[in-house]
């Protein structure tokens, strides 16, 4: 138990002052601006938005600066801030088929309609340190591009049907039927288990990238294997539409960048379902493809019961294990609190151990 302590105000003030100094680093170096972090540390900003569960690039950049680059601390700051915001509305579900795609690849269909679009990817780079960046050289802006594949991704309004819809036409893959039921919200009500799929996806999309990645990796190594292929991975922007109560119709209030991954998984069939492919789904704020792929693998692994598969005891199949441990703010809060003063607790333990020892010693002496 943590009990309140008094005293130490001066030391705490001085510690915080020193923290501010250390955050700034060498004053001879120019200070980082929020726009610099937002523009040049974009993937860190994306991660803080996704796990902080609040889409606002400037706030995420501010949190990263304030946290000295500790991304979990930054997520903590964002989570704390978002609790101060009134919830004005919930959006219509975003239409990812209408995404203006920057990137869209499929590992299962090489000739997918609309084409494979690599986008600004680390894939196929050599992972060699680029010392030119250290020499503070400017990357030239890309020249007006010349499309290599004939027709482009087209003007903004083009729709990119999901790859899974092609398989669906032949009944080779399970379909995902639309429903307008209000989804559960773990930010409003404590998570209850068993969780339905919408609740699981909410927990996973704001879950820690490292945790979700490791869970997904464990399924690939055999702990709850689901034979996943990346049916499609897409990154781009979608419009967010909200019903405006004063007007009685919906308006697009902005645009957000998302990463979406759909896996296609082998499924031998069950008593009720014919053999077909099944699906795992990942959708994450910002450009976060590692997280989106991992999320879709874990989503699929958690569906064993619904699909009539065996529970092999794999951690990634265990809903309670995954959902109750994927949130890095809950995890770090509980983990780090043990460094705070526990003097009263420890005093009690100390007395207990002393008592047990003296009893044990008395017994020993009596025996001798």
């Amino acid at each position: 138990m943590y009990v309140a302590v008094k005293g130490g105000e001066r030391a705490i003030d001085n510690a915080h002052q020193w923290l501010a100094e250390e955050r700034r680093g060498d004053p001879a170096m120019p200070a980082l601006s929020i726009p610099q972090i937002r523009e040049q540390m974009a993937l860190a900003v994306n991660r803080v938005m996704a796990e902080g569960s609040l889409y606002d690039r400037d706030l995420a950049a501010l949190a990263i600066k304030q946290a000295r680059g500790d991304l979990i601390e930054a997520v903590f700051l964002i989570r704390a801030y978002r609790t101060t915001l009134p919830r004005l509305a919930a959006s219509h579900p975003v239409d990812t088929a209408a995404m203006a795609v920057d990137r869209r690849i499929s590992a299962t269909f090489k000739d997918l309609p609309g084409g494979q679009i690599l986008g600004p990817t680390f894939d196929y780079t050599h992972r060699l340190l680029d010392f030119a960046l250290m020499a503070e050289g400017e990357t030239p802006r890309s020249a007006p591009p010349s499309p290599v594949g004939g027709e482009g991704r087209g003007e903004g309004e083009a729709r990119f049907p999901h790859v899974t819809s092609f398989l669906n036409r032949d009944g080779l893959i399970e379909s995902a039927e639309a429903s307008n039921a209000t989804p559960p919200d773990l930010t409003r009500e404590p998570m209850e288990l068993p969780a339905d799929r919408p609740l699981r996806l909410q927990a996973l999309t704001r879950g820690d990238e490292g945790f979700v990645l490791s869970m997904a990796y464990s399924t690939q190594r055999g702990y709850g294997r689901t034979h996943a292929f990346v049916g499609e991975l897409r990154i781009g922007t979608v419009a967010v539409e909200v019903d405006i109560p004063e007007l009685g119709f919906a308006v697009e209030i902005g645009e957000i960048e998302l990463t979406e991954c759909e896996t296609v998984n082998q499924f031998k069939g069950s008593k009720t379902e014919p053999p077909q492919f099944t699906r795992g789904y990942g959708l994450v704020m910002g450009q976060s493809e590692r997280k989106a792929i991992a999320m879709s693998l874990v989503d699929r692994a958690l569906r064993w019961q619904e699909l009539g598969e065996d529970f092999t005891g794999a951690p990634a199949q265990d809903e309670e294990f995954v959902l109750m441990h994927c949130d890095n703010i809950q995890a770090t809060g509980f983990l780090e609190h043990i460094k705070l003063p526990h003097y009263v607790d420890f005093q009690a333990e100390l007395e207990l151990v002393r008592k047990l020892r003296s009893e044990a010693m008395a017994l020993q002496e009596a025996a001798e």
């Binding site: 004005l88 591009p145 003007e155 899974t164 007007l247």
Partner: protein
């Protein structure tokens, strides 16, 4: 008040919401006299997705939003819901929403909305062209035993 059809109003409200606040302020710097019905308020909208892109809705996470409402001296009421935390952006968008219902609509459409829409179009086309330039045709290698 004119009887602007929802479809038109929907379009201009979206254009104003998605506009870069700095650009919008440059195109429409001075707000006409207006009465603020709802002070700009910063809040959050829960963004939803669908399972598998088409299935049941789920909560993806929130985004910051600012809303405001104004009434012009001539009586038109304007509303704005805009992404982000820029209160002036919301106020400016709400004022323009009201003005677009007045006899100044054609003028403002030409001076403010059309430039914004044209710029968005150019930005999207540029990005689409960059994406198209990374389009790749993968081909599978024929292996010896397949012939």
């Amino acid at each position: 008040m004119t009887d602007a059809t929802p479809i038109h109003r929907k379009t201009w409200m979206a254009t104003l919401a998605k506009a870069d606040p700095v650009r919008l302020a440059a195109l429409f710097p001075d707000l006409p006299p207006h009465h603020v019905l709802r002070q700009p308020e910063i809040g959050a909208v829960m963004v939803r997705g669908r399972v598998g892109g088409t299935g049941a809705a789920f909560n993806l996470g929130e985004m910051t939003v600012t809303r405001a409402s104004v009434r012009l001296e001539s009586g038109e009421v304007g509303h704005a819901w805009v992404q982000g935390r820029d209160k002036l952006h919301a106020l400016r968008a709400a004022t323009l929403d009201a003005l677009m219902q007045s006899n100044r609509a054609a003028d403002l459409a030409a001076r403010v909305l059309q430039p914004l829409q044209a710029e968005t179009q150019v930005a999207r086309a540029t990005r689409a062209a960059k994406a198209a330039a990374t389009k790749v045709d993968f081909f599978t290698m024929v292996r010896g035993e397949d012939k």
